[in-house]
């Protein structure tokens, strides 16, 4: 049973900094693949191995110049990458990004779409849901474990109260937590081989608006103050207790 598995990955800035001018993330610096996405790639590769074949395609929506950030996924073993890039997508939020991704995924026709649960920059943790919705596929999120039998995927989901075991039939969308596996290190040969793997840059944008939200204001986190230092003169514990009681902590 050869599977086509798409892994959606996101290039994120190495340094996360807000640009007070635009109210957006400062994306001027270097980017790398979102770290949880490495776990998604690992899961896709492991599934392909257990299914004894198939294709792992990395899909991303990002400016074309960030194509090289997908290279680690190829070195890990993904077969090819598709990068959806268009000037119209600049400033896209969930609306535009999910539409662009869904369109690209439809072109690939995957049996399984794998996401990392969240990204280190925007941290919306919703893209997988929106894409599942657009594709009309079942979605399992916060997945910490999974087993594939035939075309049935049994997943363990982390929920507030504990864990939940759910079964979905492929095709489906899953969003994985970082705990799910340990991503492999590509060998030097893999890296060399990855140089030759294709990254198709697709220059299309979805019809309609790409953003439904506007940032109105941006407040940096409050700056630290010196805090209160309690010198221990033998009664420090009493002063700490008072402090906590005063603030209703205790």
């Amino acid at each position: 049973m050869a599977l086509t598995i798409a892994v959606c990955v996101k290039p994120v800035p190495v340094v996360t900094r807000l640009d007070p001018g635009t109210g957006r993330l400062d994306r001027s610096g270097a980017h790398r693949m979102n770290s949880v996405d490495e776990h998604a790639v690992e899961a896709a590769l492991a599934l392909r191995e257990s299914a004894l074949g198939g294709e792992v395609v990395v899909v991303s929506v990002a400016p074309g110049e960030l194509a090289d950030t997908l290279r680690p996924a190829l070195a890990m073993g993904a077969d090819r990458a598709v990068l959806v890039s268009s000037p119209q997508l600049e400033g896209a939020d969930l609306l535009g990004t999910s539409a662009a991704l869904a369109a690209a995924l439809s072109g690939i026709g995957p049996d399984l779409v794998v996401f990392g649960s969240w990204s280190g920059d925007g941290n919306g943790a919703m893209l997988w849901a929106a894409v599942g919705e657009r594709l009309g596929l079942p979605v399992a999120s916060r997945v910490v474990d999974y087993v594939l039998r035939d075309r049935r995927l049994t997943v363990t989901r982390q929920i507030e109260q504990g864990s939940e075991v759910v079964e979905v039939e492929l095709p489906a969308v899953v969003a994985l937590s970082g705990e799910v596996n340990v991503p492999r290190y590509p060998s030097f040969k893999d890296v060399v081989a990855a140089k030759k793997k294709p990254i198709d840059v697709v220059e299309t944008a979805p019809d309609g608006p790409v953003a439904g939200t506007t940032v109105l204001s941006l407040e940096p986190a409050p700056v630290r103050t010196g805090g209160i230092v309690v010198e221990d003169d033998g009664h420090a514990h009493e002063r700490l207790l008072e402090f906590l009681i005063e603030r209703g902590v205790l």
Binding site: G120, Y185, F188, P220
Partner: protein, 690 residues
């Protein structure tokens, strides 16, 4: 927090106290960071400031510091602790010093100068005549002093006065007198060094008389708008010296004279020099109680000192009112741009001082120009300042093999110059030997060499591949313009030794070609022999008694001794030198020996290793030639390492065969095993010409 996570949460400007201005005697200082005074040995042999000295201080002013205290400078020929102390008394220094004050002011910082008479201390060998209140050597020295007579006292006061006048003419904003860890003035104030029975000794007031005469002379000799400060040793940290209560009394007395505008805290003496310029074994913020105590009693602005490198700690100290200004010497040697980075919300880009003293103190104590392990440009800003980096005319594809300090530095500088850089490291983590060194007790801050570099290369978008062991064959397929081989070095044990299982011998080609020599002691291939790398990566050594052979003299040997002792082994360390850790910088060496003295470690200097057999080692007394067998469970020989250079030679051959135009270079330990300071400088030099 990992470097990655740290990069994720890059700071917004968050140092409201540290970055706020302060007036000292009406002199507006733009923020609270002070570049502490230090002898940098950048004057010429006549004590004249050089362009290097000006550039050194200008770099810190450009980097955003609020106040620089330039010096120490000498007040007279007798008392010039090295011929390379700026001769402030000499009129010829005025115009040259003016270049410095102009340059510093040009970047918006203020600059004071520190004046010192060396008194009973000197860096020269043999020392010139040493002046003191009472004839006796400073205990760290074997050279005795001259008890000053009335003429000497008068001349010394004049020296301060003339120098202060010259400094005023040179455009300094203030003058600081050193009643601190070396020099004449503290020796007068000290009940131990000052045994005089005239009006300059015998009582506290009398002992303070001479320092106060100098303070008064300085005040009278400079402009009214100039500040006068005291660098004050608050605690001598010697068995015979004074402690904090006395230091505070001195401060009170000086303050009550009405002549002083600020205090700059200090501690230690030549007999406790590890407290003057504390190495990493002294905790960060160790001197806070001294600063706090002075601040609590004084109405004057107080500069805190000593092992303050972390901006959060500095901010906290100001916010809680422990001090008014934060003194940093070595942090700003290691990263002149620290204040600017804080200001620009780039706190996570700061390169930390690792408190090694290997570049700064070690150099100037030998009267050599200041250097820094972390900052290749220190003391040679005119050649290597990062401000001089230019974008490469032709961006090239640079492949770096090896993620130790050398490879990382090449990657950093090459990426900053606009090259496309990929870096390969066969371990799962970057850092090379630095990761091993940082596992040794009291050596943890060594890791910050790599923390800075790793954050930098990632921020700059260098493609970093860890867990990726490079082989020559695949390399050319990456179509590099340049390959920089930075594969480091390995312990020089016989290739048949077990070590090769984890770190395959990478010197075979060199050995074949007679380009490297192996160790010749019989028995080094035996199973009871362990390399430092094996020890530090967690090998379990058999039995209790471990023999460490220190043929290296620095941390690789000394720190491994402590590592093994901490792991519960009975350690004997031998060295054919006169002392174990012979290459350690002085403060590190002194504290190492103190710790060894308090442990069960057995030290046998002047002893060499002749042979190893199962369960025993043959030692030789290098003076008498006498040989003895000792029973041992394990042996850890530490000597010069061999370069991992096979890849370099293979690549050259491959490039020649293929006819490709690929530049192949090697850098760092891959060329010759050394220390981080020279490795980073070499890497910087290489990357600037790629």
């Amino acid at each position: 927090m990992t470097v990655d996570e740290a990069a994720d949460v890059a700071g917004q400007p968050g140092f409201p106290h540290l970055l706020s201005p302060l007036g000292v005697r009406g002199i507006g200082i733009r923020n609270r960071i002070v570049f502490q005074p230090h002898f940098n040995c950048l004057a010429d042999v006549h004590g004249m400031p050089t362009p290097d000295l000006t550039a050194y201080l200008e770099e810190r002013a450009w980097g955003g510091v609020g106040l620089i205290v330039d010096g120490s400078m000498a007040t007279m020929y007798e008392g010039q602790m090295s011929r390379k102390y700026v001769a402030a008394w000499d009129e010829r220094s005025v115009e040259l010093n003016r270049r410095t004050t102009d340059a510093v002011h040009g970047h918006g910082a203020k600059v004071f100068a520190q004046l010192n008479h060396g008194g009973h201390t000197s860096l020269e060998h043999p020392p010139p005549i040493l002046w003191a209140p009472t004839q006796m050597p400073e205990p760290s020295s074997t050279h005795t002093t001259k008890a000053m007579d009335a003429t000497d006292l008068r001349r010394a006061v004049e020296g301060f006065a003339i120098s202060a006048r010259n400094l005023a003419d040179a455009g300094y904003d203030g003058v600081e007198l050193k009643i601190a860890h070396d020099g004449l003035l503290r020796s007068f104030a000290s009940p131990f060094f000052n045994r005089r029975q005239d009006e300059y000794g015998g009582s506290f007031e009398n002992r303070m008389r001479f320092p106060l005469e100098c303070v008064a002379a300085v005040r009278e000799s400079m402009r009214d708008d100039m500040a006068l400060g005291i660098r004050l040793c608050l605690h001598e940290y010697t068995p015979f010296g004074y402690e904090l209560d006395y230091g505070l009394r001195m401060a009170e007395h000086l303050e009550s004279s009405g002549l002083v505008d600020y205090f700059n805290c200090d501690a230690g003496s030549f007999s406790s020099f590890w407290m003057e310029i504390p190495p990493a074994a002294v905790a960060q913020g160790f001197f806070r109680p001294l600063n706090q105590a002075l601040k609590a009693q004084s109405d004057l602005p107080v500069i805190a000192f000593g092992r303050i490198k972390d901006a959060d700690l500095a901010e906290h100290m100001l916010a809680t009112g422990e001090a008014d200004l934060i003194g940093m010497a070595r942090q700003l040697i290691a990263d002149p741009e620290t204040p600017r980075k804080l200001l620009e919300g780039r706190a996570n880009e700061v390169r930390a001082c690792i408190a090694c003293n290997d570049g700064c103190l070690h150099a100037v104590a030998q009267e050599k120009p200041i250097r820094c392990v972390q900052n290749p440009a220190a003391g040679q800003e005119l050649l290597y300042s990062e401000r001089l980096l230019v974008r490469a005319a032709q961006p090239r594809s640079v492949v770096v093999v090896g993620g130790g300090p050398a490879g990382l530095k090449v990657a950093e500088i090459a990426a900053r110059r606009g090259h496309r850089v990929s870096l390969f490291e066969r371990e799962n983590h970057l850092g090379g030997q630095v990761r091993l060194g940082a596992r040794q007790p009291h050596h943890e801050e060594f890791a910050e060499v790599v923390h800075y570099l790793e954050a930098a290369v990632r921020r700059l978008g260098v493609e970093v591949w860890t867990g990726s062991d490079v082989e020559a064959d695949g390399l050319l397929e990456l179509e590099p313009g340049v390959v920089v081989v930075a594969t480091g070095s390995q312990p020089n044990l016989p290739p048949t030794h077990r070590q090769s299982a984890s770190d395959p011998d990478a010197g075979a080609l060199a050995r074949e070609r007679g380009l490297t020599a192996g160790p010749e002691t019989p028995g080094l291939d035996l199973a009871l022999v362990y390399s430092t790398d094996e020890v530090l990566t967690g090998a379990t050594l058999p039995g209790e008694h471990v023999l460490v052979v220190d043929d290296q003299g620095h941390w690789e040997a000394a720190g491994t001794v402590e590592f093994l002792a901490a792991a519960g082994h009975r350690v004997t360390v031998i060295t054919s030198r006169a002392t174990v850790g012979s290459e350690l910088e002085g403060t590190n060496h002194a504290m190492f020996l103190q710790r060894v003295g308090q442990s069960d470690i057995t030290v046998r200097p002047l002893t060499g290793l002749r042979a190893v057999e199962e369960g025993r080692a043959l030692l030789v007394d290098v003076v008498s030639g006498e040989e003895t067998w000792v029973s041992v469970d394990a042996v850890v020989p530490v000597s010069w390492r061999r370069s991992r250079d096979d890849l370099y030679y293979r690549l050259h051959e491959l490039v020649a065969e293929s006819g490709a135009t690929v530049q192949v270079e090697r850098v760092g330990d891959a060329a010759a095993a050394r220390m981080v300071q020279t490795v980073l400088l070499e890497a910087h030099q290489m990357a600037t010409v790629l």
